[in-house]
Amino acid sequence: MRGIAQQPPAQPAHQFVIVLDPAHGGSDSGAKISPALEEKSITLEMATHLRTLLQARGFSVIMTRTGDTDPDLTTRAGLANHAQAAACLILHATASGAGVHLFTSSLAPAPRTAVPAWATAQAGYVNASIRLSSDLDAALTPTGIPVVVGRTFLQPLDNLTCPAVAVELAPMQSGSITRGETLDDPHYQTQVLTAITAALMQWRQDWSSQP
């Protein structure tokens, strides 16, 4: 299908795969950050940069899109689920608030089942998702970037069978002032993505110690 970067290879269950989902794309431009800046461009830029950082550290990375296309939400979730990913990050951007927003599914935790219901597939992974979110929070906090942690109602988050966090980049804060244009600042993005990479390295270490 157009817009899919890689078909998910048959992964052994123990292989550590990261799925990056740059939200929006194609005709869905997402939030209008500024007259010249759209959310879909920022998410793709972040995902591409993050993939490079992760691959340099030996991670296997799958992206749901690598160009200006808009795979539907079902396709994005299906790709992540077939990859049996160890972590799924849905990347968003907004002009509201400040710093980084980390959101996990609002579904109540439930035991994992062999054939989970599509609408509530994430329920079996909610606790793992909250732990992943906590690792991301811990890695971002030392940078001084404000972090907001919460639960949300977002598709395709609820359909994922992997520890999944929606990472939303908001503008840099200077006192009580934020400006959407700062989302495009390479230094700011690098700071955030480096912290996310560190969190995923910690996550991989924790993952390998799990039974």
Partner: protein, 200 residues
């Protein structure tokens, strides 16, 4: 040169036109008088003697990602649906005030709130909130601002109407996939199981 008969006919037509015009003007005046005598068809503004009641607003803050409760005293209608609609409209209007911590354009509002019994549980209610068509473009797009908008509305409504257990959202009478590109509007929100308040 026109004949005398033609002159007579022309004069007759002219008199007829003037008479017809006078009759039409009179009939128009009578129709206006009849309409003015009818009861006012548009809804009246909130009556001045509406009782003031104490309510709780769950105010969102985009910088902290949190909701904080604020007690307010408002004059609200006694009809539950109208009361819920006015309560939410006053909450949403406060978001467009200068210095708001959750800025949403003043055009955003709630057209109507329908309170229905939950099937199989007559003691609890389902609130169907119908946003106006201007709401989605007035709402800043993003996971955090959209989530805070929904949480604020759900929790404010529940604080003042404890019998409301479920909430659904429409936009201009129609189901929509998201509020402004992110928060899911296709589901029925269970108030008790709604996402906990984000913490910073």
């Amino acid at each position: 040169m026109i004949t005398r008969l033609q002159q007579f006919l022309f004069a007759l037509l002219l008199v007829g036109c003037v008479a017809l015009a006078a009759i039409l003007i009179r009939m128009r005046q009578q129709a206006q008088d009849r309409l003015a005598a009818l009861p006012q068809p548009t809804p009246l503004a909130q009556p001045d003697n509406a009782p003031e009641v104490s309510v709780i607003w769950m105010m969102p803050n985009d910088m902290t990602g949190a909701l904080t409760s604020e007690q307010k005293t408002l004059a609200l209608p006694s009809d539950p649906s109208e009361r819920a609609r006015d309560l939410l409209n006053q909450l949403i209007a406060s978001w467009s005030a200068p210095g708001s911590q959750h800025p949403v354009d003043a055009k955003a509002g709630v057209e109507s709130v329908f309170l229905l019994p939950v099937p199989g549980d007559a003691s609890h209610q389902l609130a169907v909130i119908n946003f106006n068509a201007a709401f989605p473009p007035a709402q800043p797009s993003g996971i955090e601002p959209e989530t805070l908008t929904l949480l604020s509305i759900i929790q404010t409504l529940h604080a003042d109407f404890p019998s409301i257990e479920q909430v659904r959202f429409l936009v201009d009478g129609h189901a929509q996939p998201t509020l402004a590109g992110h928060a899911d509007l296709t589901r029925t929100y269970q108030v008790e199981n709604a996402a906990p308040q984000p913490t910073s």
